[in-house]
Amino acid sequence: MLRIVLKIDGERIVDLDPVLGYLHRGVEKICENGDWHHAISNCDPLEYAASMFSEAMPVLAAEKLLDLEVPRRAEYIRVLAWELNRVASHALFIGWLALDLGGLTPILYGFIERDEIVEMLAALTGQRVLFNYLRIGGVNGDLNHDFMSRLGDWMGHALHRIEDQQRLLNANEIFVRRTKGLGIVDRDIARRTCLSGPVLRATGVPYDVRRAHPYSVYPELDFEIPTREEGDSYARYLLHLDEIKQSIRIIDQVLHQMPDGPVMAKIPRLLRIPPGRAYISVESPRGQYSCYAMSDGSDQPFRLRIHDPSFFNLQAVGLVMPGNLIADTMAVMASLDPIMGGVDK
């Protein structure tokens, strides 16, 4: 639901103007009218390709305001769900990038990958896309047998699948020529437009919220922050592949280190959040997903300001596109990977 007005000279783009707002639902305002628990499901459809991250916003903010200790098992399950969702989102990214370039097949392979994960998370949370799984003080339900058996199956062939994807695209001359050296985002543009996530890391800046501002149990896990220097669409594509591998590594560790214990902290049934302000952020598949929450002491959020990385990544389009061809719009747009649900909120 993004409209881009192009000013063109033949096939060459002179100027570009993204028109936003077609998917605006006023999620932030809706969140103010329900209580904190409602905010979780209201934030779900913001980032619909990876809603485990957007639904974490009110949860983490409320926990910070409450100064609540979340059970360690719940933290590990959260990390597991987040990383699974990251892989699902990245698999979809690769497919969409190829589809926008005219390749029909990778999107289907990406959807196979995504579907397995989404079914797995459905076994855990009860829903395929909008999970509504995280709770203030923990998660809704412990790991179950169905989920674990699906996860075991998937872990067995996940890396193999990713290599299949790589074989189809990495050395494909057409794909490489359509993406290499295209839509180059340099560090200057990245700084000016507040970029984060894979787009920023593809410019060589190793900034990842999981390491820069650690949250949850990420400090206990061993993983790398892959970076690329080129900053073009192809670098972003390769970076997504690397990140999938790192995520699988994290999932492996989480499964080995998973402690026993409860998955919910003791919280009162009528939850009143103490007045104050809190800023929290997580590393979503698209970058720094953060939230600035204000509470006035009632059971409803006073203000829930959500910072969606897609919106900022989208700003780069206007800076990198002029001078390229119409066909490149798709390659660059797809590689910046904005989710319009989060952009328009």
């Binding site: 096939e11 005219g102 390749g103 029909l104 359509r178 119409i326």
Partner: protein, 467 residues
Amino acid sequence: MSVITRPWSRLTLAGKIVIPLIFLFVLLNVLLIAGFATGVLPFLGGLLLRIINDNVDIVRFIGAVTALLLFTVPAAFVIIFMELKLIAFVNLRLGPNRQGPWGVLSSTLHGLKVLAKEDFTPTGADVPVFTLAPVVTYLGAVMTIMVIPFAPGLFGIDLNIGLLYFFAVAGLTTIGLIMAGWASFNKYSLLGGLRAAAAIISAEIPLTLAAVGVILLTGTLSLNEIVLRQAGSALDWFVFQQPLGFVVFFIAATIEAGRTPFDMAEADSEIVAGFATEYSGMRFGFFFFAEYVNLFIISALTVTLFLGGWNAPFDIAIVLDRLGIVVDPTLDPGSLGMGLLWLLLLVPPIAILLLALPFWLLRSDWSLLKSLVVGFLLFNLVVMVLVGIWAYMSFPFVAGIFWFLGKTFTLVALFVIMRGTLPRIRIDQLMGVAWKWLIPAALLNIFITAAAIVILRDPSLPWNGGG
């Protein structure tokens, strides 16, 4: 007879069809009898025969055009079905599987759906040009089939400038696309039309130049003659004498047919549907069909020029002879006498029973009727295969059609799998490929071919027996 007295509105659908047919039948009979009695019909028939006799070329032409027009529709349906199913397999999907067995009817139903849709003309469109564009595109595609030899003696017309005619008429398709792009009064259509024009102009030159190598080898432009010159085994096909020409021709043909990875004229992720954006209903259907007919003819031309046309890759009679098997397909039904009647009477039921028996014995959950039905179908299959083999051995044109269509549809399948695998190339990259690589390669091919012909065939050179 109470049906006849019933009012029209109370008739069932079947009655509405049957009753007019009865009246028509009676009327025709009366007319026939009257015609023969007065001698009018024999006179008219004789006149018609004389006219046909006097204008046999024109009649043959009209017949060929009609047959080819009718041929394009099922050919396009087959290719569309192949595309749906093959791309589904590449994508690890099932593909169409609801309409008929394996979804074989899906493409036909696509065609019917297109027929049933509203035919819409946008405001601001240039109506005559807008209406004419799909016709020009489709006819441009169909007219080229005229010169393609399907089998020995089976071609629309054997022009001595067949190849030239092919390239000239295939160029007409481009005009249709530009007309559509311009007349639609739409930005996307215009971009698509211009892209199509740019792509096809870039491809047309290497395509023609790559064919020049074959023309040098054969010394003729007649496609029929070119096929005859490739007779023999697969090693006599021009693909082995013209490998570079074949590669250039294949790539240029992909551009010419507007197939992925060169389908930027209707790039769905960029310019909606390109030149076809504003088209709906059967006008869109014409573009849709033209695309697949184009695919067919471009594969057919590749087969004709480089892959031996209707020639078999090996002479099956020689192979059988080597193996010591003697096959004599000449069958004279008259020599069997009354035996023929017994054969026709006894063989089918016995064969059906024999074929049904194993199913009935081995599958305990199958009823006798089900086994019999399967036996009947199997018997039909066996008979079809046997009749096919007999026809293949007896009539050269059956063998020709078999190999020609087999090769052509294999190439079509290759194009389809390419579509499933490759992303789309950009328009400037396409022009770069065509002008910087294909044209020099085609020129190099002409140079090498010409030099080789002079060296190997010039009688004045010493190694060719000259002095």
